[in-house]
């Protein structure tokens, strides 16, 4: 064989090898729009278009980002302690984290929804749920602080929450892990079908103060509730909840709760439920215990109270309260279109998206177009009777859908890791873009309201792998910003998030920025241990309790010399920040305290408890750089042995020694 033959042969072999490679499809790659940098760049000193409130998942907190820049502005502590802000460490905030189980320092904040007026965000509050120890929180959008937390009784895992009705008449809380009702819990776990129940709570929101009250609960068969959306517009007065585990399995849910071809979306006529509740048709349940914690902006303190009564309506005892719509394969999202006419079910193991019509549902109900068998007493509407249509081959693992202002829907797909845009009327898929990687929830600005703002879509991803510089085994989750103003979605930006971002809300900047609080009026401070100016700063012994009435102002702490503290004392530093200037908090920390710092806003009084563990001199100082002489803003406490003759003595500066 000649050289030429060898060459031909090896060329043929090489061609064969490469042609195998060629039949492999190329990945989607990294399709970033050319001028993405320009479209997400907010020049120094300029503002973002939107506030983006993002759930912190297992961090228990809520984060506030700007869109389109993806800049993090603030982490609002909600369900978890936050030593940076003294949340759960200061005496004033400790009651906020009290539950019927005692002080709970952590939770899993899943979803966020804004308060609505007429189906639009009104900029008053954000609501948030905790999944582990079931609670609901209300965050004040003037102060960006958590104002209220209420515990939800009869519930195990408050996942299906905090979705609100068109005018935030109610915030919904519903169980993800059905459990026996409170007080009836000591039963065999395999008696699930008999003893375990679901509860859907309707927590009313006071229009002015925002205060929560569990108005009534609906008791249901032992389904697991995942997500919900209240009806709006034509469907106002209804609530749609995705239900999984219609199998009512109690073990290896991964397999046993995935058996049925269809689970349900539960449609609840909540106006009807309200009527029955007001007519006194509910049953008072008095063996419950749940915490109701409220923040008072004037006393700068929280109160904690345990409540022991709730009204329960068993939906199986009413004919016209709830209906089940079959929905394929363990649905996650149950999302209502802006007009309120369409309800989109996202079965996370399904290969299509069913879209239900409210009008058809109403017709089916009035014609009793039901399956022959009820599900544990609840009528099941025939799938086809309520169906507007199915989106064919949309992707794998649909999770959650939001809407724009032009009649389009956007659905996230966890398994195939993409966002898909489709038309609500025609059900035609219009565009798909990959996400990096495995998107959970998505959010369109105003995408759950009656008039979505549109423009931006953010995908909240569970996996980031190779997207950012690696940081060991634990990687950040991420948000991905898309511009949806054109026909095709355009990827603009990746940014890391805190904890795990589940749901989020975006509010136009101008809805909030002008009413954002700058300082607390010191004259309105009603804290019982407030210090009215430096002249009133003092140290008072009450038995073994020592109260330090302390003030901070640039650049000194009064008093900054404290003697006469003894071993066995409990010392309370009640620190009043006398500043009345924007962005001028002071911090306070003392050596060896088994506690966090305090971070005291202008005009506020906050308390740190300290139990000295040894005799000696303990420096304390301001922890938040406040001024050129911040380093000088410090002082000393002297701790003497128990029974020492050292008297209580305190002062700041040589001129005003006081005893």
């Amino acid at each position: 064989m000649k050289l030429k033959q060898y060459l031909v042969l090896s060329l043929a072999a090489a061609t064969m090898a490469t042609s195998f490679q060629a039949c492999r499809p190329k990945g989607a790659g990294n399709a970033v729009t050319g001028d993405a940098a320009q479209r997400t760049y907010i020049p120094p000193g300029q503002y973002d278009e939107f506030y983006n409130f993002v759930s912190g998942g297992f961090s228990g907190q809520m984060s506030v980002y700007g869109l389109p820049s993806g800049r993090l502005f603030r982490v609002i502590p909600v369900f978890s302690v936050d030593p940076e802000k003294g949340w759960g460490f200061s005496e004033e905030t400790k009651p906020m984290l009290q539950t019927s189980h005692g002080f709970v320092p952590w939770d899993d904040l899943h979803h966020i929804e804004s308060s609505f007026t007429d189906g639009m965000p009104d900029g008053k509050w954000m609501f948030a749920n905790s999944n582990n120890t079931p609670r609901l929180a209300r965050i004040n959008l003037q102060t960006f602080r958590t104002d209220e937390i209420i515990e939800i009784p009869n519930t195990g895992g408050n996942h299906c929450s905090p979705f609100t009705t068109e005018n935030s008449e109610y915030v919904i809380a519903a169980t993800r892990f059905s459990v026996p009702p409170d007080g009836e819990g000591d039963v065999a776990i395999d008696s699930y079908k008999e003893n375990f129940k679901g509860h859907i709570s309707f927590v009313s929101v006071d229009k002015e103060s925002g205060e929560f009250d569990i108005a009534f609960q609906l008791k249901t068969p032992g389904l697991n509730f995942d997500l919900s959306s209240a009806g709006k517009g034509v469907s106002n007065g209804w609530l749609f909840i995705s239900c999984y585990n219609s199998e009512q399995a109690h073990t290896l849910l991964e397999v046993n709760a995935s058996k049925n071809d269809k689970d349900f979306i539960m449609a609840i006529n909540w106006k009807k439920a309200e009527e029955y509740f007001k007519a006194g048709r509910g049953k008072k349940q008095t063996n419950v215990r749940y915490a109701h914690n409220k923040w008072d902006e004037h006393t700068h303190s929280a109160t904690h109270e345990i409540k022991t009564e709730v009204t329960v309506l068993d939906i199986t005892e009413f004919e016209d309260l709830a209906y089940l719509i079959p929905c394929p394969k363990s649905p996650h999202g149950a999302d209502v279109s802006p007009t309120g006419e369409y309800i989109v079910g996202s079965g996370k193991l399904a290969a299509l998206i069913p879209v239900f019509s409210f009008e058809k549902l109403q017709n089916a109900i009035s014609n009793s177009d039901f399956e022959s068998e009820r599900y544990d007493g609840i009528p099941v509407v025939k799938y086809e009777s309520a169906l507007h249509g199915e989106v064919e081959k949309p992707g794998l693992g649909p999770l959650h859908t939001e809407f724009d202002e032009k009649g389009n829907a956007y659905t996230s797909f966890f398994v195939s890791s993409e966002v898909v845009k489709w038309n609500i009327e025609t059900l035609e898929v219009l565009d798909r873009q990959p996400t990096y990687y495995s998107v959970g929830h998505l959010m369109v600005a105003g995408g759950n309201s009656k008039n979505p703002y549109g423009k931006y879509l953010v995908a909240y991803n569970k996996i980031t792998k190779d997207r950012f510089l690696p940081t060991g085994p634990e990687l950040c989750h991420s948000a991905q910003l898309f511009d949806i103003s054109g026909d095709k979605m355009e990827l603009l930006l990746d940014f890391p998030t805190i904890g795990e971002p589940h749901y989020a809300q975006a509010l136009p900047a101008n809805l909030l920025m002008d009413k954002s609080l700058q300082i607390y009026d010191i004259n309105a401070n009603k804290h019982p241990y407030k210090t009215n100016g430096e002249a009133e700063a003092k140290v008072v012994r009450e038995g073994n309790i020592v109260r330090v009435y302390m003030t901070t102002i640039r650049s000194h702490i009064t008093p900054d010399v404290i003697e006469g503290i003894q071993m066995g004392d409990e010392v309370y530093f009640h620190v009043t920040n006398l500043e009345q200037d924007w962005d001028m908090p002071h911090g306070f920390a003392i050596k060896g305290a088994n506690n966090s710092e305090l971070l005291i806003m202008p005009g506020e009084t906050t308390t740190l408890k300290w139990v000295p563990d040894r005799t000696g001199i303990f420096p304390f100082y301001c922890t938040d750089f406040c001024s050129a002489l911040h380093q000088e803003m410090s002082g000393y406490v002297r701790v003497s042995p128990k029974g020492s003759s050292t008297p209580i003595k305190y002062y700041t500066g040589e001129s005003k020694p006081t005893t």
Binding site: A13, R24, V255, L349, G397, V415
Partner: protein, 197 residues
Amino acid sequence: MTSANRIILIVCSLALAAVIFLPIWRIELDAAQYPEGLELKIYSNKLAGNVEIINGLNHYIGMKTLHADDFIEFTVLPYIIGFFALSFLAVAISGKRKWVYVLFAAFLLFGIVAMVDFYRWLYDYGHDLDPNAPIIVPGMAYQPPLIGFKQLLNFGAFSIPDIGGWTFIAVGVLLAYCTAREIWLSKKNTSNEKHQF
């Protein structure tokens, strides 16, 4: 038998000996969540690559877990390949043309049987699914392609020979060449009434 062919057969013998220790086949899996890709490498005596991760993912669709112990192939394959390596050497030393033909026939047969066996193996794994699996897509099977690319739900499966497999193929091609050359020579010799051996 030409000395060139004898040298080729000796080279083939060494190459086959190497195949015992090289990955023969490779199945690459791609999904959005696995930008780095997952890989299953099949050696003559073991499975390697991301076997545990692939087993973990496959449980969602109810596929049996892959364990080298379940395959008799991994026990006998190294011996068969070793036997062929020795046979190539023996034929080269013997220099008998007839044995080249026998070797070619045996090697071809082995190649076919091996591929049929491999196909059966892929078919079983792709079709024998646990009816209690969390994800059941009606009518969907997850048989990876014997060779080439196939989309299986969110995973793209790409199946190709690995270095050992390519070596094996190259040995086959070289053996075919030797065989053809010997046939051609023998015909030429017969017509020329001349013995070159």
